[in-house]
């Protein structure tokens, strides 16, 4: 038996018949010290065979909790208090654990939100797959391995035989997500729940995974519950949509109807917040900003290079080098938003870290009057002028400090103001970023992702810096929060005249906020220019490919068929005696710089 079997039997069918999964009146509560608090209330939906149901809604609206309730995997202190979850005729909520176990993986499978951490790091991919298979089908080891191999082939992982014996950390995020999908689909479940399967991935990888899910659904007839906050993904994938807010179902309907004619105000707001490529008029920049080219640069990078030595030989000498950033030059002008885009690992964050003095670098950074020639030049005074908002707000805040103290900390360090003055400053900053002053005494984990990001921004603003480096500051946020944060950034720029270095892999977001854009690949810039130049007239094939990969939040949009990108991103790790080729940029008019084609990794 193989996964391709249903394809041959012609199982690619339209959604029809009785629902495979139906949820009715589901309520879930968490037991807290102060009694039980509802997380999800009265959710109902049904899922038919071969159908894709998208659950959309902002962060914390109960999407994950709902799916966990279906799987019977709720956290210890959380319980389903009412309703039914029927798989065929069985009510999963009332099933004893042993019978539930037999159903899990076999008839209902789930792909979790975090591909990076959802695989056991100490077991080979093959073992984890075979184990899932053997848990439900009494197969000998060898047969299970063969089935696992089929599963990996089915998700079109490159070199499947080799992957079987590799460990998760040896795979990229996209590959791991495919392994998760293979694992979930290996037993051909009736229902597959995918919780934000692509949020953490690059646009290009996201593209591949979405394509793959669609194909698999078509081939196996598995019904899919897709949880996502990305309306683009919803538009591309879903047959029907459930919109949730605060643990309640707001609206349900076919995807086309929801997008075309949302009935609830919340749904409308949600859709309105979605950034769309190419919807911002190219002219809006010169209209409301000062003539950009004339503004003095706040930050100038000249031939910035960051390399990490790795590997150790016999005498402890490094053998290899990571060329994270290779000769990058650009400048950021006052009150400008300069965006860096590119796939994971291309060196975006490293540039941010170099500016913040967190990694040793070569080349020059001129920052608000300070001339930095190396990490050692980044003094406290420099840091006052350049602040960084980290990629992951949850990780960038010390979990053991109250947010009020965290925001006040830069002031303390730089010796600004008295205690009371600082308190006042922090309160006003909180108001600025849209948080209430009553929340000052909370700990970071007591905030939602978006709120945490706002805390980080407030912290960065505390010193009134000239430049704020925002590293993927909105990628992990759901659209509504994302929109709010972006609006906030724009507002701050208008009020305070700060410049932003905006780092993101989300092209739509960049399109909606940036004044100028640079596209990076393997540590070097491939194309750079104004937003209109890069997005309106992409010259480099790689730029074009990135733009095309962005999901379009419009169910009617028809994507031109494309070859799947089976390639992996080439590695910036090279032997010490083998430096990469430096790309030269050519001006194609009006400061629009483009490199010669061809990746920088290959020697000419």
């Amino acid at each position: 038996m193989s996964l391709a079997e249903p394809l041959r039997s012609g199982a690619a069918q339209a959604p029809d018949g009785a629902p495979v999964l139906s949820v009715e009146g589901l309520s879930v509560s968490v037991a807290t010290e102060g009694g039980s608090r509802p997380l999800v209330q009265g959710i109902s939906f049904a899922l038919r065979r071969g159908e894709t149901l998208a659950i959309a809604g902002e962060s914390g609206s109960g999407k994950s909790i709902t799916s966990l309730a279906v799987m019977g995997l709720l956290p210890a202190n959380v319980r389903a208090t009412a309703g039914t979850v029927r798989l065929g005729a069985t009510d999963l909520l009332r099933l004893p654990e042993s019978r539930m176990r037999a159903i899990r993986g076999d008839r209902v499978a789930m792909i979790f939100q975090e591909p990076m951490t959802s695989l056991n790091p100490v077991m080979t991919v093959g073992a984890q797959l075979a184990e899932a298979i053997r848990a439900h089908a009494p197969l000998p080891r060898r047969a299970a391995r063969a089935r696992a191999l089929d599963a990996l082939r089915a998700v079109r992982l490159s070199e499947p035989e080799r992957r079987l014996d590799q460990y998760p950390h040896e795979l990229s995020g996209g590959m791991r997500q495919r392994v998760m999908i293979a694992m979930a689909l290996a037993l051909k479940p009736d229902v597959l729940i995918a919780d934000e399967p692509t949020t953490a991935l690059d646009v290009t990888v996201q593209r591949e995974v979405l394509d793959l899910l669609r194909e698999l659904r078509r081939e196996t007839g598995t019904a899919l519950v897709l949880i996502t906050h990305d309306m683009g993904v919803v538009a591309e994938m879903a047959d029907r949509v459930v919109v949730m807010k605060d643990g309640r179902l707001v609206e349900e309907g076919p995807v086309a109807r929801i997008f075309a004619a949302p009935r609830q105000p919340y749904t409308r707001a949600l859709l309105a917040a979605v950034p769309r490529m190419g919807t911002r008029p190219p002219a809006d920049v010169p209209a409301d900003a000062p003539a950009l080219p004339s503004a003095p640069p706040v930050c100038t990078l000249r031939d910035l290079t960051v390399r990490f030595d790795i590997g150790r030989g016999l005498l402890g000498r490094p053998t290899h080098r990571v060329h994270a950033v290779e000769g990058v030059s650009f400048d950021i002008r006052a009150a400008e938003t300069f965006a860096l885009v590119g796939e994971s690992g291309c060196g975006k964050s490293t540039i941010a870290r170099a500016i913040a003095g967190l990694v040793p670098f070569a080349g020059g950074i001129d920052l608000a009057g300070h001339e930095l020639r190396g990490q050692g030049d980044v003094t406290r005074a420099v840091r006052r002028d350049a602040q960084i908002v980290f990629q992951d707000p949850a990780a960038a805040l010390d979990p053991r400090m109250r947010v009020g103290d965290l925001v006040a900390e830069p002031l303390v360090i730089h010796g600004i103001g008295t205690r009371d003055e600082r308190r006042a400053t922090v309160e006003s900053l909180f108001e600025r970023v849209g948080l209430s002053r009553t929340q000052l005494d909370r700990y970071p984990h007591e905030f939602s992702g978006g709120q945490r990001q706002r805390v980080c921004i407030a912290r960065a603003l505390a010193l009134r810096p000239r430049l704020i480096v925002a590293d993927e500051s909105v990628s992990a946020l759901d659209v509504s929060v994302q929109a709010r944060v972006l609006a906030l950034l724009r507002e701050l720029q208008d009020d305070m005249g700060v410049s932003f270095l905006f780092i993101s892999h989300d092209m739509a977001v960049v399109d909606s906020i940036a004044d100028r854009v640079a596209v990076m690949f393997l540590g070097q810039i491939l194309e750079m220019g104004t937003r209109a130049q890069v997005f309106g007239d992409p010259r480099h094939p790689y730029t074009r490919r990135l733009i095309e990969a962005v999901p379009v939040p419009d169910p009617t949009h028809v994507r031109p068929p494309r070859d799947r990108l089976a390639s992996e991103v080439p590695s910036p790790v090279r032997r010490r005696d083998d430096p990469p080729r430096r790309l030269r940029l050519r001006d194609v008019g009006d400061g629009h710089l483009v490199s010669e084609p061809g990746p920088p990794g290959e020697p000419v």
């Binding site: 914390g60 003095g357 960038a396 979990p399 830069p410 007591e446 939602s448 010193l463």
Partner: protein, 293 residues
């Protein structure tokens, strides 16, 4: 979570939160009572510290079992065991708390410094730690004590000097991974100095480990002190310590079980009490890990 405004829970002070945990309170009580007993030993002990009582021995020279005049019995010299344990609390607190604390302190300092700064300081410190680890602690203790004149504080120092190594190793590993975390980079990015990062941001995260080692270390150091005393390095008789009382009488555990059981129980109780308080403290200090171990 949306911005749905939940009523702000009232913040309790750390002490207030501690007070809501009955077990922690119990632990605190034990510690307070032990300290009080140690301080008040001269006044509350029924007999003199070293008083070898005629009634304390049978005619054949056997110690008296608990009961009557001697609530916990007497030792092999006819001294009241309760008195000895009360006085012994002084020594044992110094060893179990001060010496052990000193070891923790040194270990933390070395491990954290090495783990945070890496580089040559880190290598140097860790090589030194490896050297110390490869060195038999007992021998070191003997030699150190032979060089200085033995006294309680020298013993405490010696114990601290041999016991910090493991702590340093464990904390080193933990600190290295902690130092890689984003929020430490974030602190640096806002201009925080090393001192601030170490004390305000790294150390609090090491508290759980420090507590495990610290509380388990109480028993081991108290017993180690007895070994050292036996070798002539620790406190000298007739000064009692819980470890010594056990050590001197351990062969009599069948003939006179109380001589081992009571001081043993005292050590156990003290260690448990510190553990309970430590656990609570950790939960209080770590808002994200309520009730986690």
């Amino acid at each position: 979570m949306s911005d749905a405004v939940l009523p702000e829970p009232r913040r309790r002070t750390a002490l207030g939160r501690l007070a809501r945990r009955p077990l922690a309170l119990l632990g605190l009580l034990v510690i307070v009572v032990t300290v009080a007993a140690a301080v008040a030993a001269p006044w509350i002990a029924p007999f003199g510290r070293d008083e070898q009582l005629f009634e304390g021995l049978t005619l054949e020279g056997a110690p008296m079992p608990p009961g009557g005049m001697f609530p916990l019995g007497t030792d092999l010299l006819g001294r009241d065991l309760l008195t000895r344990i009360l006085w012994g609390a002084r020594t044992s607190l110094v060893i179990g708390v001060a010496a052990n604390g000193m070891a923790l302190l040194i270990g933390t300092l070395v491990g954290v410094t090495a783990g945070y700064f890496r580089g040559w300081i880190g290598s140097l410190l860790m090589r030194f730690t490896d050297l110390m680890m490869a060195f038999p602690a007992l021998l070191l203790a003997i030699c150190l004590a032979a060089i200085f004149t033995p006294s309680l504080w020298i013993v405490a120092l010696v114990i601290a000097l041999v016991n910090w190594v493991q702590v340093a190793r464990v904390l080193y590993t933990e600190t290295t991974s902690l130092a890689e975390r984003d929020f430490i980079a974030a602190e640096r990015a806002i201009g925080a100095g090393h001192g601030r990062i170490l004390f305000r941001h790294v150390l609090p995260h090491l508290v759980p480990t420090i507590i495990v080692w610290g509380t388990l270390g109480i028993s081991t150091t108290v017993l180690l002190e007895a070994t050292l005393s036996f070798l002539g390095i620790g406190v000298q008789p007739p000064e009692p310590s819980w470890g010594n009382i056990i050590f001197e009488n351990q062969t009599y555990f069948q003939a006179a079980p109380w001589l081992v059981a009571f001081p043993g129980a005292a050590i156990l109780l003290l260690a448990l009490a510190f553990n309970l308080v430590g656990d609570a403290l950790r939960d209080v200090l770590d808002p994200t890990q309520k009730g986690r171990g």
